[in-house]
Symmetry: C2
């Protein structure tokens, strides 16, 4: 029997094999934190046709739509199935894996050695005798003193296995420790496998890099939607949920569940021992960082908007509940303020803006849009809520920039027929952020939508039709049509307006003009590329010379990668966080004015977009 | 209805009230760790007569003997009951409480201020505003820096409640911390109640002092038999059990269960909030200390006899699983070697032998007998296994030195009729260590037993009779007769021989004679007193001038008390442990010779006991 997917792939399923298992064999992973027991309810999949038996589909809308749990569903004939974006766990993403060589090169460009958080000390102890009968701990301390190390701290967990560890390795050990110094664990002096994970906890998506600490290479990468989405799209709704009875714990479980789900999948795929993952770096906005550590985020939302912690202590993986070595230190990128978090510090670090004298603007386009301006002497930051649409959330056929996503769109000005390119060259299953920007700029230039983002009804094309959610433009016709609705366009307009208003009002607040900005770094999960020309056409980015722009991709996870491997860069990250001055834009009239003016294509004031004006003529 | 006890007390029980509850109302506590649910099986009591209904008596020997669980047993008429020694939890013991004033005086005699492990810092923080919007942790750190405190460490637990704690107390707080420095918890700057517990974990008995940290006074004291006894009488059998599957965890649960049981009972009695018990000091032998912390003690028993830890880090009550403030630091008296533990360091400290130039010998008579010799310049230690008989274990009617115990015995040389004195002046329910020593010396002097400790059959007295366990001497006739059997006497002979051999062989090993010893300190749970004359008559202690002896009682718990209250004395304890040189007696031929020679009353070589020789003539 075969499971036929919307992308065109056909996956064989043995008799009595469930769909989750069959997909996994072909490297297609679904989110699943219960290990296929049917209890977590996450591995949902839509069956369009074919015979199957299932023991679990949740009542209500899921059942009506033919959505079942893949782990509890067994095909009884060929079935045609559709993966749900929120249930996809993507491991081995080609775009990300292409960075395998770029990453160590990037690290070298920072002029940094590989200096992981966990350090090693090779110690050979003389075995105890009747004459030399000091306790194991005193023996270890004596060995350390002979190496010049004093005042090491020892946790109860460390000592609980120490006696056996020392004997198992015949008193010749590597002592793993962190600065403090504090002992972490003991290994044989022969063991060389050492890994770490760099984690980007986005409000909408979660990305995990598994890194080989020996050479800094990317072993693999995995990502999913942040399952917290079920409790709300943005940080505010999450904070509200956290304050409800048991809500914080629910959110915490969800995010650690996602990270563990990805990590478990990667290490199973590569046959890596989880004990060998000995450190982790977490990069997230302030709310995500608080929830990850189980700290109530409620004061972030209430005036005067105070986080509990900006600079997180180096706690352990056991405390964080991560499925890696329980003693592994977990480094959290330091946050700046309630709405500028570790992900922005991470991004600024990755951009190198803090090292250069030129004035740069850094913009991270995620669920929140955060901006930093400055150079090697000063840094100002601000935040504006863009919403999750460029990450595929809240858009009818939106998806992340992964296989099957339409990432570029051209529309013929005469026939209005679109031509598209799809990541991985498969059948299209959705549209990602760069595709949306492309599509809207093309629809606008070809006159299909007006400056308010509404369909121009006079235009005669079969591509515009009435869908369940109002007027929509069909970008792709296939087993499943991919459309952009008028409501989608409205959402995207609001997001791009927030981003533009953020940039322009922060520049104004500090008394600058666009001319002062020598470089603009754009970060965000846009995948391969962001077409800056198109982003200018829709008025998301300001109309300045294109050579000033650099698209950096997901800098949150890249900064986490750098901190995983470099002590020098961890210190620079702390320095960036200390230097950044936060400006509260949300309360400024300036921002609201800028936002309202930006709710047009490209902008109310066409004079600000001379390039676009020329194009329209 | 009434419950009539062997001591003569009559305890009223309401209709439908269980025995555990009725006894508790009158201040008679039984060991019970399940809170009266009938699951822990510890609150065993023997019902001799009367009507009752019970839902739980363990099958086999308990049922045959009429032993039931007090929490599950309801009198239906007056019942006559007998408390089982191993099930008694004694709180409010008068002998110990009499020390309430002595203890602070003792502390003062060491010339030490009250300096508990947990320190306080009074901090008033400016509340956050829109302008001053640093995170809570950074605000606290800033406040600390203004007080000159830098580099404070913060646990995840501390920070998890920090935001609420700071706001609850309106930013005016006491920060409780320990050296490191490490933050422990936050309280209102108004809260003054501060308690600590000093715990003696003996192989046979457990004693807990609850101390008011403000004035060093003893609030109350509680004790029980160490419930680990069910797994074996001495440390060796415990170590063997610990190595069996799940054994270590079983032993650990048992000992923490006992300590918690006592602590819970005391704080309930006094209405103390357990959060206000903010530090603990543990004093025990090396094996007991390891088991308390859940560390496998197996290498203690195998050559070359290596403990995992001698100097324990300052872990938390949560890690120790104590029912006090979970952040409370738990200080463990440092151990010296596998068979000389923190209890001996504690005792040496309490005796002040480490401060004086005179050569002193310190002997702690517990399940193990440990000896220290030395002065303010040097200290030698050794151990010999005495067995638990002086603590009442392994003796037919043996009991601890608490209410109802025969503590002194005289035997009329003509009629052989004994006269006794009982602790608390109640009916006698057993005999404690000092009573045993008295009884044997009297039996010996009056010719009832010979130099080998056997009954002299020629003596005509109704007091010698055949019991279930062979010949026995009836010391007390009552509702329950109290006897000393020939087997009991044999056990006591072995114990006293081990103690004497320990002292004499250690003195020989270091090239001394008894004349070099200027002072002998005797410690042990003998209650009110130990009659040194009697101990010399039976040959347990050497025959030297009586004024050289000092009986100190339970020095393990007293040393723990001193360390609970004094930073200076904690440092002295560490210094004592470092200074002590351990000698392994068990392997020396010297010790075995001494032991064999001491298996007579008072000794094979009568010339060593001139005082006794004179008495016998």
């Amino acid at each position: 029997m075969n499971i036929k997917l919307a992308t065109g792939e056909s996956i064989p399923a043995a008799d009595g094999e469930n769909i989750l298992s069959a997909l996994k064999k072909k490297g297609i992973y679904l989110v699943s934190s219960c290990g296929g027991k049917g209890t977590c309810g996450k591995c949902r999949i839509k069956i369009r046709s074919g015979k199957y038996r299932t023991s679990a589909s949740r009542p209500g809308r899921d059942k009506e739509k033919g959505i079942v749990l893949a782990c509890q569903t067994f095909p009884e004939s060929d079935v045609s199935a559709e993966l749900l974006e929120e249930a996809r766990l993507i491991v081995g993403d080609r775009i990300a894996l292409a960075k395998s060589k770029d990453l160590p090169e990037l690290l070298r460009s920072f002029d940094s050695e590989i200096t992981p958080i966990v350090k090693r000390l090779n110690i050979k102890l003389p075995p105890p005798t009747i004459e030399d009968h000091i306790s194991d701990l005193e023996r270890l301390k004596r060995g350390l003193e002979m190496k010049g190390v004093k005042g090491m701290r020892f946790s109860h967990t460390f000592i609980s296995s120490m006696a056996e560890d020392l004997r198992k390795h015949n008193w010749e050990i590597h002592l793993a420790y962190v600065d403090g110094p504090e002992a972490i664990f003991v290994t044989s002096d022969k063991q060389t496998a050492r890994y770490g994970i760099a984690v980007d906890i986005g409000t909408t998506t979660i990305v995990v890099y598994l890194i080989d600490l020996a050479d800094g290479k990317l072993v693999d990468v995995g990502s999913t939607y942040n399952s917290q989405i079920r409790y709300g799209d943005d940080v505010i709704t999450r904070i509200v949920h956290a304050a409800e009875g048991g809500g914080l714990e629910e959110l915490r479980k969800t995010v650690t569940g996602d990270i563990n789900n990805i990590t478990d999948t990667i290490i199973e795929k590569h046959g890596i021992n989880k004990e060998h993952i000995e450190c982790a770096v977490i990069s997230g906005n302030t709310t995500m960082s608080h929830i990850f550590w189980g700290l109530a985020p409620e004061h972030i939302r209430e005036e005067p908007y105070i986080p509990t912690v900006n600079s997180f202590p180096l706690w352990r993986a056991g405390t964080a509940r991560l499925h890696i070595n329980q003693q592994a230190p977990v480094y959290t990128l330091p946050c700046v303020a309630s709405y500028v978090g570790g992900d922005i510090v991470s991004g600024a670090l990755a951009s190198k803006m803090h090292r250069n004298p030129e004035i740069a603007l850094f913009m991270d386009i995620g669920t929140n849009g955060e901006i930093a301006i400055g150079n090697n002497e000063w840094l100002m930051t601000a935040a504006c809520s863009a919403g999750p649409c460029f990450e595929g959330s809240g858009i009818k056929h939106g998806m992340r920039a992964t296989e099957g996503a339409i990432e570029a769109v051209k529309i013929a000005p005469d026939t209005f027929e679109p031509s598209i390119s799809v990541i991985g060259n498969t059948a299209a299953i959705g549209i990602c952020g760069s595709g949306m920007i492309d599509a809207i700029s093309e629809l606008f230039l070809s006159g299909v939508i007006d400056r308010k983002g509404k369909f121009v009804r006079e235009i005669k094309t079969g591509r515009i039709r009435e869908g369940d959610e109002g007027a929509e433009f069909v970008i792709y016709k296939g087993a499943k049509d991919i459309v952009l609705t008028e409501v989608d366009i409205e959402n995207i307009m609001r997001a791009k307006a927030a981003i533009y208003a953020g940039i322009s009002s922060l520049i104004k607040e500090i008394g600058f003009t666009l001319d002062n900005i020598e470089r603009i770094y754009i970060a965000g999960g846009f995948g391969n590329y962001l077409n800056v020309d198109r982003a200018v056409i829709i008025g998301m980015l300001p109309d300045i010379p294109k050579e000033k722009f650099r698209f950096l991709g997901n800098t949150s996870v890249v900064g986490a990668y750098l901190c995983l491997l470099s002590e020098k860069l961890r210190k620079e990250a702390e320095e960036i966080a200390r230097k950044m001055t936060y400006m509260e834009l949300s309360v400024s009239k300036n921002f609201m004015d800028e936002y309202m003016s930006a709710l047009f294509l490209p902008h109310t004031d066409m004079g600000l977009f001379p390039t676009v004006e020329k194009l329209l003529k």
